[in-house]
Amino acid sequence: MDDRVWLAALRATGTAELPHDIATAEARLAAASGAGRQLVPVDLPQGPGWAMTWRDDVAPELESAGSPGTPSANPVIVLAACLRACWTDSAAPLYPGGETTIEHVTQVVSALGVVQARRAVNRLLWWGYLTEDSGRGSVRLGPRVALWSEADIAYLRAEYDLLPRDRTE
């Protein structure tokens, strides 16, 4: 598969397995950079992989023209609850973190007035912020979370106590 088709496939699927040889890996990294992207290591169920994000110098800024838009409140609240449930030790790395159940997250966010939490979970799964163990009703943080900068994670770490959690625990 040539680089442009490989990059198009990565856009469509969100993640790719690491190539088996270093020469191909280097070629993919260079091709991504030429297209304004960088490849970030992520953990996939089948092993180590890559997710693709913008190079730091070209990333679209939120609320500028051409930004992807701001999500509505419910997915943000549900993601916050998932972060808290999957990232139980704020001193540890955020990603890949542990897993939680959709039932638990629904319970946490319903106390904050969020109904139809499953719909928000579906959006987060589609966007790649969560991944799901199909059939088990559990979710983990997705590859898009692995793309967050150290500065973003430091901010989250500072505000860790504000992330929604089960108050009965």
């Binding site: 088709v5 198009a8 469509a12 297209a35 679209p60 051409g66 838009g69």
Partner: protein
């Protein structure tokens, strides 16, 4: 191909990359005035060249620009099973397109330029009446299509979502041909499409010899 991009000063290269990021990430068309690389006719081809590196093309839409998959690349991805919707989602989306776009277009009430902005809303009830799919199947397919921005809710039902503005002209033509084949497979237009496709396939085989 990249010589043009590489010959630009660093500041211009950054402007090109910013425009690429905008048209790739935006939900709605990006006005050309917002990015110098889109507004300037000499820089726009460079944006197209950078997009091409990842199998994408620049698309004019709604007075601005978006990006989409190049036709040959989307065909290759489909061949690999990448980005293909499950059958029930495809069926529901086909019904939405048929009722909201193809029928009003055939009746002369929807201009080609207004396909994705003035389409007729389809109510879930209408979908249930016009298809053999169970209501639960339609609901779950609709949820997935909504999340993927392939349909969107408006007053009176759903219409095709913002992703349709990322289709190339060739992809839109192909889509309409498929809808004609679906709606009236033995009609004159459908038979003409089948003849044209057979001729094209024969031409391709001839070229490969």
């Amino acid at each position: 191909m990249s010589a043009l991009f590489d010959s630009l000063p660093a500041a211009r290269r950054l402007e090109v990359m910013s425009a690429v990021a905008a048209v790739e990430a935006a939900l709605h068309p990006v006005p050309a005035r917002e990015f110098r690389a889109l507004a300037e006719p000499t820089l726009r081809p460079v944006v197209e060249q950078v997009l091409a590196r990842s199998g994408r093309v620049l698309i004019e839409a709604g007075g601005g620009y978006l990006s989409g998959y190049a036709d040959d690349v989307s065909a290759e991805l489909v061949g690999l099973g990448i980005g293909v919707l499950p059958a029930t989602q495809r069926a529901v989306l086909a019904m939405v397109l048929l009722l909201s776009v193809a029928v009003p277009r055939a009746e002369g009430r929807l201009a080609l330029g207004d396909l994705w902005t003035r389409s007729r809303p389809v109510s879930p009830d209408m979908l249930g009446r016009e298809s053999e799919l169970a209501p639960g199947t339609i609901d779950s397919a609709m949820t997935a299509l909504r999340v993927a921005d392939l349909v969107k809710d408006v007053a009176g039902g759903v219409v095709p979502g913002p992703q349709f503005r990322r289709l190339t002209d060739a992809a839109v033509s192909h889509l309409f041909e498929e809808l004609i084949l679906l709606a009236e497979p033995q009609g004159d237009l459908a038979l003409s499409i089948k003849r044209l496709r057979a001729m094209r396939a024969a031409g391709n085989r001839e070229e490969q010899r």
